[in-house]
Symmetry: C2
Subunit: 195 residues, 2 copies
């Protein structure tokens, strides 16, 4: 660093966190790794962010990592279509974003305040949708929550797994064609359930 610009330095550090997260995951975010990836002395990481945990908290905050997509149920013809659209977008999000996959993976091995916060927000968003679907469809809320859990749970699992494994139950979880098949199954399920 030749220029003295704290804002730029902080951004460099946060950007370095981003690239490490996307390529190696949150587990690999350490002081030394961030320092060398950003080209900044590690002292500044402590000075400006306090600790790696606080740095990661800031990164999560900046990157809006909870389910923030809006789903106005009124805009859809019926509950079935609405449900399909929600899960389609869930799959897209997770398949497109390496950082989000790494976050979900990290959460399986870690518990800390930042993660707890994300989980709360996610939980609220999810339960709002589940409530709306239950009300409009007349289905028991536990069943709606259960179906939703089966789908989002397996999608999360498969998206993480796909980074290290190409096939699961003969589905090519690395390719669009495999996910098309799964989407067809989800649609099939909803056709059977919402009659």
């Amino acid at each position: 660093m030749t220029t003295k610009d704290r804002n730029q330095t902080e951004r460099r550090i946060l950007d370095a966190v981003g690239t490490i997260v996307e390529t190696e995951g949150f587990e690999a975010v350490g002081v030394n790794a961030v320092a060398s990836a950003s080209g900044v002395s590690k002292v500044l990481i402590y000075r400006y962010f306090g600790s790696i945990e606080q740095l990661l908290a800031k990164y999560l905050e900046d990157n809006d990592f909870w389910l923030n997509t809006e789903f106005p149920i009124q805009q859809y013809n019926n509950v079935k279509e609405f449900s399909k659209a929600v899960f389609r977008s869930y799959i897209d999000m997770l398949r497109k974003s390496p950082a989000l996959r790494k976050l979900y993976r990290w959460e399986l091995t870690t518990d800390n305040p930042a993660i707890a916060g994300l989980r709360e927000r996610r939980e609220r968003t999810a339960m709002d949708i589940i409530n709306a679907v239950s009300r409009q469809s007349g289905q028991d809320i536990d069943q709606v929550a259960g179906i939703s859990t089966l789908i989002t749970g397996s999608v999360s699992y498969l998206c993480i797994l796909a980074e290290n494994c190409a096939v699961y139950n003969s589905l090519e979880i690395n390719s669009d064609s495999g996910w098309e098949k799964l989407l067809k199954t989800i649609d099939f399920m909803f056709d059977k359930i919402f009659d």
Copy 2:
């Protein structure tokens, strides 16, 4: 070690791997950790097993970690009951075994020959069952595979997650009652699908 007994020493080492896996996971299995947990010099780990990877391969081999439960479909009244029983047992297995959960978690971040071998065997076992169900029920095999993927995928995810998170979509994934609810949803699904 005062007595000189290679067999006993090897068992001590493998047992130490087991306890580390169950408590901290495969990621924590290192030479130093195993040496101190087993009370054996780490030189012997290299001498008797070659490397940590080979030690872990041996551990996996000894512990029969692929889906080995037999499910004779003929013994069940109908396909629906059979399917429910299969997934019930899948959930039980994963909820009862910390080591299995840690293995599934490890697989999400790792790829190596030992894991690839497990995956192949699992894939074969799963596809055998899926084939049998498809044949007997007349359902399209891709749909059966899809449903199976949704269930096992989410169950795997939730069982891993439950070690760090108590609630998912309002389901208490830490308690029997939460899993009872999910089982009810699975049963509900099968009732709708297999009419």
